[in-house]
Amino acid sequence: MPRSGSVGHLEIDSVSRSFGSLRAVNAVSLDIAAGEFIAFLGPSGCGKTTLLRIIAGFEAADSGRLTLDGRVLAGLPPNRRDVGMVFQNLALFPHLTVAENVAFGLELRRKGTAEIARQVEEALALVALDGLAGRRIQQLSGGQRQRVALARALVLHPAVLLLDEPLSALDLKLRRQLQGELKALQRRTGTTFVFVTHDQEEALSMADRVAVFNRGGLEQFDTPQALYGRPATRFVAEFVGDANIRSAAQLAPLGLSLPAGSLLVIRPEDCVVGTAAAAAPVRIDGVVEAVDFVGPHARLRVAPDGMPAGTTEPWLALLPGAALDGLAPGARATLGFDPARAAQLPASQIRGGA
């Protein structure tokens, strides 16, 4: 099933699209390599679907350039782009059976009956739906429908497969299971996947690289590790995982000096509390405000001393559950961290966010 390695190189070059006065997609540039698993991540309304629909050819870009393996996509209708799509609501044909849904695109390509039957069978086996070829769509569970939609798109071996929040309608357990299957499927077929989600955990765990969007603009396009460890903007630092974000002015009393205007991003899991904090290079004394115990670990909120109530920005710490040891709301505690492990946002790159 895999295609030759060089198929599926998608270049998006400063593509924009407005609806009235709203900039839904604002000068976005992305270079997606063949065979990559890309996630589009961002809050609701940031333009993810719009960009996907531009790639598919359902919307036209106002400006910018799209090429797929060197082919300019502008002006090509959706049926001639060699792009597949799994819609958010799946859009399976209710008047056709499972096999007929999967065969739909093959029939349009005028393949022979035997060839179609063989490929449909292969595609259904790929998504583990072998026995259900004759079922009607209404007779399937949510997860099974999901797989039919995948098989219907993958059977055509598109150069790029676009997936618009394909798992958002499923319950958590099924979701985790299908995330794994989807990832395995992508590896096996070698197809370029562009996967839209607003679930950061989903994006980080599945994608080779993640594009983070905010208000139509691209904030950062990087590997999950880089996104988390070296966020490029305040928005990314806040949107991807939890973070303590402090300005130079806030850190000066702690004996830390930063270039004026820049920010430091300290992840909660890089913070220590209690006796362990004694050895930390930077220490803050305060009062425990809240404790969320979730089994393997606990989330702690510590209000630092010396600031009037209301203006204090509490610190977040993520501790192993066992390290909690007597820390309860109201208790005094010392929180410490190592600035060497924190990421710094230079003044020039602080965009978006609060």
Partner: protein
Amino acid sequence: MTGPGRRLALFAPMGLLIAAFVLSVAGLLWSSATRGGIGLYVELLSDPGILRVLWRTVWIAVATTAACALLGYPLALFLARSPRRNLWLLLVISPWLVSIVVRTFGWVVLLGNRGVVNTALRDWGLIDAPVRVLFTPWAVLIGLVHVFLPFMVIAILSSLLLQDRRLEEAGRILGGTRWQTFRRVTLPLSLPGVVGGSSLVLLMSAGAIVTPLLLGGLRDRMLGTQIYTEVFQVFNFERATAMAVILLVVALVLVAPLRLLEARVRRRLEGA
């Protein structure tokens, strides 16, 4: 009100309608059986004049339905896609604001031997003698299509609007041209609307009275006009009753295949 009380209140008007319908049909059948008997039916159905009326009724009703479907589908599709749908819809149903007599009489003015169409054609030198349309079945057909087209458009439009537009997009991204996607996705999914609208138009045109009376004249009658004549001109209630029963049977026979088709299409769509 809650529970059964409320349900009763909601169903009471419908119950009245159903009761009125059942009673009137039962009364019709009863009076036909007691007053005329079988002999009257034999007499009617062996009368070549009546058979011609029967045949004319069937073909005009079928042709009206076919014409409404053929004209109505593109119109409904246009309405479904138009951003100013409500404005256009108003235009489509605006004839309902005018009495059917007035609307039909408009066609008399248009189609008569000295009507607008014939006069214009003669003035342009396209014809020498007037084309006789008024008081022929063709005029009836034109009039019926005009009167019933909105019903067809609305039936088809509602099933088109129920369709998820993503299904068409799925058809396109899977490699379908606009036409292929229409034929394989949009059209089959809108068939319930077409079949429903067709049943409606077929029933209404088979029983039409005003339009065939005004545009068909007294020679080329349909069953409805025939019954009307028997009642108001000949005062032969027995014959009128028997013909009403025949009309009922004809209507049922005409619509039965459509209902079967609709049931099949629905089963297929809903996967029962």
